[in-house]
């Protein structure tokens, strides 16, 4: 960088003015979008192409700014101080002869990168301004005011897979097995029904007969109905036995239950 000599010249007659400018900037510190923004503003005071700015002079200006801010007891955000420290480091790099070992990036490289960053930020600012200045939709350019919506006609196609079908069938066929019994009035004989039937028939029952003989015709075959008829008829016969109208007997456990009329002698 060509910084050194140039900067020394400038400082001699421009420093007062610059200090004043720095103070003005400090008042405005809230208005900056960070240290890079501030550096960009400072670089403009050099009034040259960004590619030709003296990074050393810029670093001086920035450090001067931070110094003034301290004197004026203005709180600066941490990133401003980080930048100040970095610029102080850069300044020393630029002023000292390069490290012969050459491991670290040289002051020139660092300065060049900072110059690139400033130029890039400036370029993006200008690009953003150009973008915003374009004729914009809804401001200078307009879309169709009375847009006609496309009418969408929806139709529905139903589908089912073989699996759906089989599951549905299985569901239907097994539903009966699990249906809550209260739902099954059809297949359920109540004790009242059995009692009515038995009362009507028992007058004829002079001989012992299996209670199943008293089931209605259509309650004999289907196991479920037969079970229900058995239970209801058995309960009814207990009731009639209690009333003293019939007798009950069973040969042994699980043997058929038989009833007959009890003659009131």
């Amino acid at each position: 960088m060509d910084g050194g000599q140039d900067f020394a010249d400038r400082q001699s007659h421009a420093s007062v003015e610059e200090r004043r400018a720095a103070e003005a900037l400090i008042v405005d510190v809230e208005g900056f979008e960070g240290p890079l923004d501030l550096l960009l503003v400072l670089s403009r005071t050099q009034k040259v192409d960004l590619r030709q700015i003296s990074i050393l002079a810029l670093a001086e200006q920035y450090l001067g700014f931070v110094e003034r801010a301290r004197e004026l007891r203005i709180e600066l955000a941490a990133d401003y101080l980080v930048m100040a420290a970095w610029l102080a480091f850069l300044k020393s790099r630029l002023l000292l002869p390069p490290d012969p070992q050459g491991e670290e990036p040289s002051g020139e490289d660092l300065a060049a990168h900072l110059a690139f960053q400033l130029e890039r930020l400036q370029a993006m600012r200008e690009a953003s301004a150009q973008l915003m200045a374009r004729p914009r939709l809804g401001r200078e350019v307009f879309a169709r005011g009375a847009a006609e919506a496309v009418t969408v006609h929806r139709s529905t196609v139903h589908h089912a897979s073989l699996l759906d079908l089989m599951q549905a069938y299985a569901r239907v066929k097994t539903r009966d097995e699990f249906r809550p019994f209260v739902m099954d009035r059809r297949d359920l004989m109540t004790m009242e029904q059995a009692l009515d039937r038995l009362r009507a028939m028992v007058g004829e029952a002079a001989d012992w007969a299996d209670i199943s003989a008293y089931f209605p015709e259509d309650w004999r075959a289907a196991p479920k109905r037969r079970r229900s008829a058995t239970a209801a008829t058995f309960a009814a016969s207990l009731e009639l036995a209690k009333e003293g109208r019939i007798e009950i007997r069973q040969g042994e456990s699980f043997a058929p239950i038989e009833i007959r009329r009890k003659d009131r002698a």
């Binding site: 307009f142 005011g145 009375a146 196609v157 089912a160 759906d164 299985a170 569901r171 239907v172 009966d176």
Partner: protein
């Protein structure tokens, strides 16, 4: 509030320019624009009526046309192209549970009467459900049954076999196979559509020992 014509300070535009201006205004407006309103927004001395007439002629026979609606004007899509503003969307939806069950019963029991379907399902089958299956081309009317009342029967169609990849309705797996394949549902909770899987099935099977 008074409107200050924005462009009144300019000279009256050429016919060509007036047409451009009207074109833009009419295009951007959400509603038909009264010619008086357009005149107010154009430089003084603009021949609005003439330019509108020229514009109408320019668009005649195009895909959009400039129409006069009372005192106002608007661009409108040419009437013969209205169909381009329509789109047909077909949505695929799963067949309802009632319809699937009814279809399954028809497939397994065909030819089957409506009363028989209801007998198997344990609930009444709505007219609409069978109609839907007929509309879909999966079910058709079979021969009448030779029982009192000669009720109509329902059978599945070629289209049904085709859709489900079956040679014939006899290819449908039996209950035993369904159970072996773990396809038997458990009891559906009343009201809820119970599509639950295997684990419970097993438990219930052993419980009821069928």
């Amino acid at each position: 509030m008074t409107e200050i014509p924005e462009t009144a300070q300019f000279d009256a535009p050429s016919r060509e320019e007036a047409e451009r201006m009207l074109e833009a205004m009419l295009f951007a407006s959400a509603e038909p624009l009264a010619s008086a309103e357009m005149a107010r927004r154009l430089p003084e001395g603009t021949d609005v009526a003439g330019a509108l007439e020229a514009l109408r002629a320019r668009y005649e026979g195009r895909g959009v046309e400039l129409r006069r609606i009372g005192d106002a004007w608007a661009f409108r899509t040419a009437a013969d192209l209205g169909h381009l503003l329509e789109r047909h969307a077909v949505e695929t939806r799963k067949l309802s549970r009632a319809a699937t069950e009814t279809l399954a019963i028809i497939a397994y029991h065909q030819p089957v009467t409506r009363a028989e379907i209801e007998e198997v399902r344990g609930v009444t089958v709505s007219r609409g459900t069978i109609d839907q299956l007929i509309d879909m081309g999966w079910v058709r009317l079979g021969r009448r049954k030779m029982t009192p009342g000669r009720p109509v029967t329902f059978v599945v169609t070629e289209g049904f076999l085709d859709h489900f990849g079956l040679q014939s309705a006899r290819d449908l797996p039996g209950l035993r196979e369904l159970r072996a394949a773990g396809l038997l549902d458990n009891r559906p909770p009343p009201g809820a559509g119970g599509e639950d899987e295997g684990a419970e099935d097993e438990a219930q099977d052993s419980l009821f020992g069928t």
